[in-house]
């Protein structure tokens, strides 16, 4: 796109300052918030229903395989399609760039003397900004998908790939339609749809050129497949004499079989329908009745626009599997808060962040790409099994390498990449924070970090880190450890537990000892490397990861447990990928990966704690599922079963929705992090739970910090201004615990 703005429209993520301003506006848009909240909740349940009884992951794997197969021989498939389609009378073009595609289509219109163009929805046409080019060539262009037409009338880009006008209310639509019908705005949705039917039918009848995209281009037969619910693509391809299909090269499939595999997942994932109302398959030149002497003309314009380069990129090529179902936006907690206009340049949601970089360039992507909390909800539902969240962090690393990293993240990475320096600094911080600490929180933040970051109280750094506590703990345990026959378990502390919440780790170790685990703590371990990766600091991340490969290399370990699922997930699922290039390190990484286990699974499945071990408390306990435990490690049942063993588990509706922490994300996008946290705490309030248990120190930090801040705000409101620490200490509040603390608290006395 050569960096020019589309239609002269504003791009919210053009600069960091502008982006934050726009995000704040979105957060205050109550219609948008309500609409997207409702959508997120309904989508989740209807998707679950439509996949019930089907082997969802298997179907997704089939799509991935079909797409990978096609991508691996895309040139050949293009040749086959072109030959078949030409034999049947189509005119086939291949455009290397967006500019070329625009010129080809403008020329087709000019050569045939076309004046009026109708379009059925095509994201590829949005990608090349086709409307502007055609209008520039003097053509009238009318979108016929209802949502797309509405936003065309308002001169806005789509805010969702499947539901382009989801950000608008019926009142806004009525207002727009009233301008056309010169009547009173009628806000009845049925009537609004009829207005579209009437107005657009006339456009269909007059048009001489119809533009569509394609969901499939079938090489074996030179046929294209189009999915719609409204039926507009049917009229678009049939009423005008000329049909132009604009097709991304990634839409090629070898045969109809692959198309049918995709068709089993695409509508289910997009709108929770078993199939779209219409799937139209077009091949050859069908008869055209309006003028016997002038037959139908069909052009297929294939678009490269960076796709072939992307195929050569082994880490990211799977992006091209995307079938544009939109699900990665539907489940994204950030999309849910701020909507699609702030989640992509043309394509929207997780895939939008990614494609903005690959198709529209680094400048457009560099602010956008950071607006991902890393919850992996997108990856979990992707119709094509794309590792979306992984690719987002890969792109961050590339942008850092290409552009130079921001000074703050480089500093941080220099510190965290050097274990001794990092630990020395933390020790220093512990003393430096002294005057500002109240209980376990920092009382007030220095001016520079306060401001929009004041949404949650920050935890104080612990007086004694876990690594400082360990020698004493080990000495106490020595007699018991000596004779224990249980599994050999090494503890991976992780930064948060080591330096902020060592007490959670101490409770965990006590629990492990009850079941006679042989616990060890290799002291030369380091940060897992995930925070560095999230900042796009690839080198530093590799360095700390390597340190850990050595620290946990002991052959006799049965398990390496981490109480932080982000560490566990990173070590288990990412380490082997990080070292794929080095056979020796890869072997070490695979060995470690096989041993890594999360705390809840260790306690429930290996150490087999049972009802006999607990005296269940009487409080109602809600659960928050950390993203990297549930979706990352696929652990869903164990923590819930443990809570039920040791207390009164109360199921709440949004257990699996991100709390907004996301490590450094919460520092970069405090406004969104705060909104996610607030929603989380409110949903717990609504449930009536008295305790909230989770199994991640990051979530504890976020939620306790948020709860503390709510308490302070309440006390301040009551005191009519600044409340003193002793005032808000009195406020009743939700108890938030790591599962190790919760289990330890409810363990039977005799067992202890």
């Amino acid at each position: 796109m050569n960096g020019q703005e589309r239609d002269g429209r504003d791009y919210p993520a053009a600069s960091s300052k502008k982006y934050h301003k726009s995000l704040n506006q979105a957060l205050e848009d109550s219609f948008l918030r309500k609409t997207l909240d409702k959508f997120a909740v309904q989508y989740r349940s209807s998707r679950e229903a439509i996949f019930s009884g089907l082997a969802e992951k298997e179907l997704i794997r089939e799509v991935a395989l079909a797409k990978d197969g096609a991508l691996s021989r895309i040139g050949e498939l293009y040749g086959e399609f072109a030959q078949k389609a030409r034999e049947k009378g189509l005119i086939v073009h291949r455009a290397q760039t967006a500019q070329e595609a625009r010129e080809i289509i403008s020329n087709i219109a000019r050569e045939n003397g076309a004046k009026k163009v109708i379009k059925s929805k095509s994201m590829t046409a949005e990608e090349i900004d086709l409307n502007r080019a055609l209008e520039g060539a003097g053509l009238e262009v009318v979108e016929t998908d209802l949502g797309e037409w509405i936003i065309q009338l308002r001169d806005e880009p789509p805010s969702h790939m499947v539901l382009p006008a989801i950000h608008l209310s019926r009142f806004q639509v009525a207002e727009e339609f009233a301008k056309l019908t010169a009547g009173e705005p009628d806000t009845d949705i049925g009537k609004l749809v009829k207005v579209a039917r009437r107005e657009l039918r006339a456009k269909f009848a007059e048009a001489d050129l119809g533009v569509t995209g394609a969901n499939f281009a079938v090489a074996a037969s030179g046929a294209i497949g189009l999915c719609t619910n409204e039926g507009n693509a049917r009229l678009t391809t049939n009423l005008p004499r000329i049909h132009v299909a604009l097709i991304g090269l990634d839409k090629l499939v070898p045969t109809a079989a692959e198309a049918l595999s995709i068709l089993r997942v695409l509508p289910r994932n997009a709108t929770a329908q078993p199939i779209t109302t219409y799937v139209s398959w077009l091949t050859g030149i069908v008869d055209y009745g309006a003028a016997a002497d002038k037959g139908k003309i069909v052009h297929a314009v294939f678009l490269d626009n960076g796709r072939l380069d992307l195929i050569k990129d082994p880490k990211c090529r799977e992006v091209l599997r995307c079938v544009r179902c939109g699900a990665c936006a539907n489940v994204c907690p950030v999309f849910r808060l701020v909507g699609g206009h702030r989640m992509g340049y043309v394509y929207i949601g997780a895939i939008g962040l990614i494609l903005t970089y690959f198709l529209h360039g680094r400048e457009k992507a560099k602010n956008l790409i950071n607006n991902c909390v890393g919850c992996e909800a997108c990856k979990d539902v992707c119709a094509a099994g794309i590792d979306l969240s992984g690719i987002i962090s890969e792109i961050r690393a590339r942008i850092n390498e290409e552009d130079g990293a921001p000074i703050t993240s480089s500093l941080l990475s220099a510190v965290m990449g050097n274990r001794d320096l990092f630990h020395a600094l933390l020790k220093y911080a512990k003393y430096a924070q002294k005057p500002a600490v109240t209980g376990s929180f920092v009382r007030h933040l220095p001016e520079i970090v306060a401001g929009s970051h004041g949404f949650r109280a920050l935890p104080a750094i612990a007086n004694r880190s876990f690594r400082e506590t360990w020698p004493q703990l080990e000495a106490q345990m020595a007699p018991k450890l000596g004779q224990s026959k249980g599994p050999r378990v090494a503890v991976m502390a992780g930064c948060a537990h080591d330096f902020i919440y060592p007490e959670q780790l101490v409770e965990a170790v006590k629990l492990l000892l009850i079941k006679e685990a042989k616990v060890s703590f290799p002291t030369d371990q380091s940060c897992c490397g995930l925070p560095l990766q999230a900042l796009g600091q690839r080198e530093a991340s590799l360095k700390t990861a390597k340190t850990n490969l050595r620290a946990f290399a002991a052959k006799d370990l049965d398990y390496v447990v981490s109480l932080c699922p982000s560490c566990a997930n990173f070590m288990k699922n990412r380490y082997p990928l990080l070292f794929a290039h080095d056979p020796d390190l890869l072997e070490m990484a695979q060995n470690l990966s096989a041993r890594v286990i999360d705390f809840s699974s260790l306690v429930k499945n290996v150490l087999k704690f049972s009802p006999d071990d607990f005296t269940p408390g009487s409080l109602k306990v809600a659960y928050h599922s950390p993203c990297h435990l549930g979706r990352g490690l696929g652990v869903h049942q164990e923590p819930r079963q443990l809570i039920a063993l040791a207390g009164q588990y109360l199921k709440t509706p949004e257990e699996e929705v991100c709390c907004g922490f996301g490590g450094s994300y919460s520092l970069k996008f405090p406004e969104i992090s705060a909104a996610l946290m607030k929603r989380k705490l409110e949903s717990i309030d609504e449930s009536g739970a008295e305790v909230l248990v989770t199994d991640c120190p990051g979530c504890v930090l976020q939620l306790r910090g948020g709860e503390e801040q709510r308490k302070r705000a309440k006390a301040a409101a009551q005191a009519g201004g600044q409340a003193k620490a002793k005032d808000y200490a009195q406020e009743k509040s939700l108890k938030i615990q790591h599962i190790s603390e919760f289990l330890s608290e409810n363990i039977k006395k005799a067992t202890k």
């Binding site: 959508f39 409204e230 391809t237 139209s280 091949t283 008869d287």
Partner: protein, 209 residues
Amino acid sequence: MPNSEGPPSFSAVNEFKKKAQAVSTETVEVKGLGGALDYLLKVAKEASPASLLPVSGAEFPKASNRAEPRKKLIAAPGLTDADFDRLDKKASELGFGLIRKGLRDFVSGFEVAFSVAAFGVAETATCVLENESEDARLAGMLAETHVVALDKKRLFETSRDALGLLEAALNRPANFVSFISGPSRTSDIERVLTLGVHGPFHFHVALMD
């Protein structure tokens, strides 16, 4: 084609009917094409008059005359001459107009279209139409109500079971193959489901023995 020779699969028929309900498709079981055409006439009787959309150059609005009430129209382009004539007789007795050609002139819309499906898929309550001729294609797009006759012996459990038929259809020199699973629909305004955007408001399938 598992059922083309043997008896129709009842489980597939039931599955089709069940899935049809979920997508607002009306189903009925009938005896052969005759039964389907009788059902078509019944649907036409109950259909409300089409609201004609203002389209410049279209034939029908010009022909319609206020003094003489406009007849309800049925388009049935796919029928053989003999079937068409038989239907035409019955239709005119009931006061309906029957058309089979020049559908492009009726782009303002009309009441009912009739098609015969090439095959069907139970899992998604889908009728598959193969129409190379423009009149056959347009009929189901322009009418407010679409009635499709589907031979039970050509009903498959899943789309994959019919892959061979789909591939054969796409291998023809020219073809327009439509999977239709219900009336035209949109959820583009406030995600409220609304039937009948650009295509039919009503979709009926007559399952033929």
